[in-house]
């Protein structure tokens, strides 16, 4: 398989997905390069810090995707952070799409000219690279969200993740944990029913709940549709390759006045397909990725709501237990203590939850704004470029034909 080493020198494009990251220079994290071997991606996580809690001011470690998942899951399970929105875990690197394309390309090789095949292969390599870059950036964002969070950045496990210079050798999820995971999902769906059914006393949380539930399903749908749209765009760009190649073949054999037209047309299509490809990938980065990221973020916010709902349920249960204890006059002190703890926990969750959700909204609006502006600007830029390419092509072609065409237009 391909062994790809990617150097990412420019600021991460996806950073616009979640702004205000890496502002605090006391802890700066980035993923400067990564290695793709077979199906495994090895990320180089580089940390620069002025904090004393770390042994060195500047260091790097190698991490795999599973290590990121371990870190995320550990944070989610940490009781202390129940009132926080835990940044969503980065998705697994998915090279399925380019791999499938490569397979198809291999099958269709016989029907294409050498030139066509080379171009398709280039396209494929570019796509592979794009997927690769995306996955690197998504992992980077995850870490940067953590480092910029006042509470999470101090987490011990996070430090271990950044610093431990040996292989983290995260135990594969053994059977027990798998089952545990399954159980957790079941609990989650029960939670969904729980919070959607009960009306919350607190106005703020009630509104947030309604909003997030609805928004989540909408944004999930939009993400899927945006993905399909981008894929169609890429298909159109690929078609241009084939058409351009065949036009060149025809032009090569042609010895009439048509030859020049065909060649110029073929050339134009070749340039166009590159622009179309860029349009598709820009759209993907600015729109599809944006929607996808916030879909996951909203899920994380929903998780916060679930935890709060569970805490509320716990509190209510403890109340009932206290009443029962008082009735029986048995273990009252213990029940009182339990109730106090539950209330404390619930209040803490509510307080930090409110803060988190408010800042989340702000973050989301800013990110959407930035991306939508950038997308519109890029679309305009690409379209303008297309117009220039077309006009140049028409110019280079038989200009006398323009007379004929204008004449016809005059009569219309």
């Amino acid at each position: 398989m391909i062994k790809l080493i990617v150097q990412l020198s420019s600021p991460s494009l996806l950073r616009s997905v979640s702004v205000d990251l890496n502002n605090d220079s006391s802890l700066l994290i980035d993923i400067p390069d990564a290695l793709c071997e077979r199906d495994k991606v090895k990320f180089t996580v580089h940390t620069k810090t002025t904090l004393n809690s770390f042994q060195k001011p500047d260091f790097s470690v190698s991490r795999q995707h599973e290590d990121f998942i371990w870190l995320h899951d550990t944070l989610v399970e940490t009781e202390e952070y129940a009132g926080l929105i835990i940044p969503p875990a980065p998705p697994k690197p998915d090279f399925e799409s380019p791999r499938e394309k490569m397979h198809k390309l291999g099958e269709g090789e016989a029907t294409m000219t050498k030139e066509e095949y080379t171009k398709m292969k280039q396209e494929l390599e570019a796509e592979y690279l794009a997927v690769f870059k995306k996955t690197v950036q998504v992992h980077e964002i995850f870490l940067q969200r953590l480092s910029s969070h006042p509470n999470l950045s101090k987490d011990r496990n996070f430090q271990i993740f950044l610093e431990y210079d040996q292989d983290l050798s995260v135990r594969r999820k053994n059977a027990k944990e798998m089952f545990g995971g399954f159980f957790k999902n079941m609990v989650k769906s029960a939670d969904e029913v729980l919070i959607s059914g009960i009306k919350d006393v607190d106005e703020f949380f009630e509104q947030e709940k309604t909003f997030l539930l609805d928004y989540f399903s909408k944004i999930k749908d939009s993400t899927a549709k945006a993905e399909k749209m981008t894929r169609s765009h890429k298909n159109v760009a690929d078609d241009y390759i084939h058409i351009s190649a065949t036009l060149n073949s025809i032009a090569a054999d042609d010895n009439t006045a048509l030859k020049q037209h065909l060649e110029k047309f073929a050339e134009l299509l070749e340039k166009l397909r590159k622009v179309e490809g860029r349009v598709a990938s820009d759209q993907e980065l600015k729109l599809t990725e944006l929607l996808r990221y916030y879909m996951r973020d909203i899920q994380a916010a929903k998780d916060l709501l679930y935890r709060r709902a569970r805490a509320l349920a716990d509190y209510e249960n403890s109340n009932k237990a206290l009443d029962k204890a008082r009735l029986k006059s048995k273990d009252v002190a213990q029940a009182e203590e339990n109730q106090k703890q539950c209330l404390l926990k619930f209040d803490k969750l509510s307080e930090s939850g409110k803060k988190e959700l408010t800042s989340f909204k702000g973050r989301r609006v800013v990110a959407f704004r930035k991306n939508l502006i950038e997308m519109a600007e890029l679309e305009i830029k690409h379209a303008k470029q297309c117009v220039i390419l077309h006009s140049t092509c028409i110019d280079l072609m038989d200009s006398s034909f323009i007379f004929a065409v204008v004449q016809v237009r005059g009569r219309r």
């Binding site: 549709k225 765009h233 077309h390 038989d398 005059g410």
Partner: protein, 538 residues
């Protein structure tokens, strides 16, 4: 031989620009046959500059903007080295005169050059060409207008196929199309008239023309293909988008078919064609049905032809034919491939349009769900933009199809007709050779008779043989004449075909580019309208 001057004399180029000279050189097409033949005897390379073709063609190897036009490009246009040098030298003079001749405003369909010098043209910049499209469906008459116009001669005929109407019910239903002809040719009794025709009428017309003209080497434009699936849907009465599209596709194809047919100088005069265009009632062409007696006969003949093609080994003495046949073989393969790629493009663009529309809806819902007011508005705006864009893609797919894909499909079928004509030539040659063989046999038989031993029957046999020999000598001569005639015809037809092909493709390429440009410009407009909305998110 007409007043054609060899191109290596600079003056001859300027002669094109001189109106009086042009009137001399030009001959109206109905009489063109005799004249054209002579032209065709001239070197192939010079055909491009023959005056019977449009002005645009004549000017085409050169650009009216000499400053921007690099010398190398000119060479690829002309057919022979002599012309290249010529054009380079004469660029300045040539263009000065040329710009005067081509009138942008003249509404007549008269040959452009027979006018007096028209007002000078303002330099054309690309933006002038780009006019917003008037309708989503591409202006089909444009093709035909230009062809008629640029033929330059007094070929003035415009045919439109319109108003498809369903007649009857159930499986016996059919679509009737209105065929309207506008012409000033004296061949027809009126200047403007229309008739109702159904699809099988068109097939019938083609079948008659093919049987009359293919065997003497004329390239008869093929009729649009039958489609059982398409027609069944229409018959059954499905009033959906796909049947409407099918009918439109067919209507457009029928129009192009008729225009190509009448553009042929010999076919337009054919009584069957005239009858087709003029007569209110036309006998039903049942023989076009696949399972009719004629249909079966056709299939048998096709099979026989295929076998013959494999067995006839022709001694090609003329390199031109060999070259051309090879050329058309290659072109056939390439065009089919290109057609397939373009069809794939049409399909993907339609998909893109559908996916964009579905995303637009989704974005609208998301906008509704969003509780931040400004962002909600921006998302709704995004949904609107995407909806407009999906329309744009849809229109572009239309252009992809009707401009590009259909042209390629037409030419794939046309080239099949061209190959058919080459095959006819082979058959003619074969017939001639067979006649020669028979003649040889008869002569041998005659010679044998000289030494026969039956004096009483001898005289009778000798007379018989003499008669037969005469008969076969005549056949041989006829065979040779036929072969020469078909060869000549084919040469002429191929020239005409190539010219038409160049013209058609050039026109389509530029029109297609314009459609692409238009799409991009609209995109710019939409996104520029959206940008302030996005920036307004507080």
């Amino acid at each position: 031989m007409t007043a054609w001057e060899p191109p290596d004399r600079p003056r001859s180029r300027l002669a094109y620009c001189c109106p009086e000279k042009m009137a001399e050189d030009r001959e109206p097409p109905p009489l063109a046959d005799a004249v054209q033949t002579d032209f065709r005897e001239v070197e192939e390379g010079e055909d491009l500059f023959v005056s019977t073709v449009s002005t645009a063609e004549q000017l085409s190897p050169t650009s009216p903007e000499p400053a921007s036009f690099p010398a190398e490009d000119i060479s690829t246009n002309s057919n022979g080295p002599k012309q290249e040098i010529l054009l380079d030298d004469d660029q300045e003079d040539l263009f000065a005169e040329a710009t005067e001749e081509v009138s942008l405003d003249s509404p007549e369909r008269e040959p452009i050059l027979s006018d007096g010098p028209s007002p000078a043209i303002t330099p054309v910049t690309p933006t002038v060409i780009i006019t917003p499209r008037v309708d989503a469906l591409f202006d089909r008459s444009l093709d035909e207008d230009e062809e008629a116009e640029e033929n330059g001669d007094t070929f003035d005929m415009q045919i439109t196929v319109s108003d498809p109407e369903k007649v009857g019910d159930g499986m016996n239903a059919y679509m009737a199309y209105k065929v309207t002809t506008k012409t000033s040719l004296s061949l027809f009794s009126r200047n403007e008239f229309s008739v109702k025709r159904r699809f099988s009428d068109f097939l019938g017309l083609h079948s008659k023309l093919a049987s009359k003209y293919m065997h003497i080497g004329y390239i008869v434009p093929p009729a649009p293909e039958k489609s059982i699936v398409g027609m069944t849907k229409v018959k059954v009465g499905k009033e959906d988008l796909s049947s409407a599209e099918f009918v439109e596709k067919r209507r457009s194809a029928l129009e192009r078919y008729l225009m190509r047919t009448v553009n042929h100088p010999a076919l337009v005069k054919d009584p069957d064609v005239i009858q087709f265009l003029e007569n209110t009632e036309l006998p039903r062409a049942v023989s076009t049905q696949a399972l009719s007696g004629a249909g079966i006969l056709r299939m048998v003949n096709k099979a026989a032809d295929a076998v013959n093609k494999m067995t006839i080994k022709m001694n090609e003495s003329d390199a031109w034919f060999e070259e051309k046949q090879q050329q058309f073989e290659n072109l056939d393969i390439q065009l089919r491939k290109l057609h397939a790629s373009v069809e794939s493009l049409v399909c993907h663009r339609k998909e893109l349009s559908v996916n964009t529309a579905s995303f637009a809806k989704s974005a609208a819902m998301l906008g509704n769900s969003e509780d931040h007011t400004a962002l909600s508005r921006a998302l709704s705006q995004l949904a609107e933009v995407e909806e407009k864009i999906d329309q744009l893609h849809h229109e572009q797919a239309y252009a992809d199809f009707y401009l590009f894909s259909e042209l390629l499909g037409d030419y794939v079928r046309l080239i099949t007709a061209v190959k058919g004509v080459f095959d006819q030539r082979m058959k003619t040659w074969s017939k001639w050779q067979d006649a020669q063989v028979m003649l040889q046999r008869k002569r041998e038989a005659e010679a044998k008779l000289q030494y026969a031993n039956k004096p009483d029957k001898l005289q009778q046999a000798k007379d018989e043989i003499k008669e037969e020999i005469e008969e076969w000598e005549a056949k041989v001569q006829q065979g040779e004449r036929d072969f020469e005639q078909i060869s000549k015809n084919i040469r002429r037809e191929v020239e005409r075909f190539e010219k038409q092909r160049v013209k058609d493709f050039k026109v389509v390429i530029i029109k297609y580019l314009e459609s692409l440009v238009h799409t991009q410009q609209q995109l710019i407009k939409y996104w520029e309208a959206f940008l302030p909305e996005a920036k307004a998110i507080a």
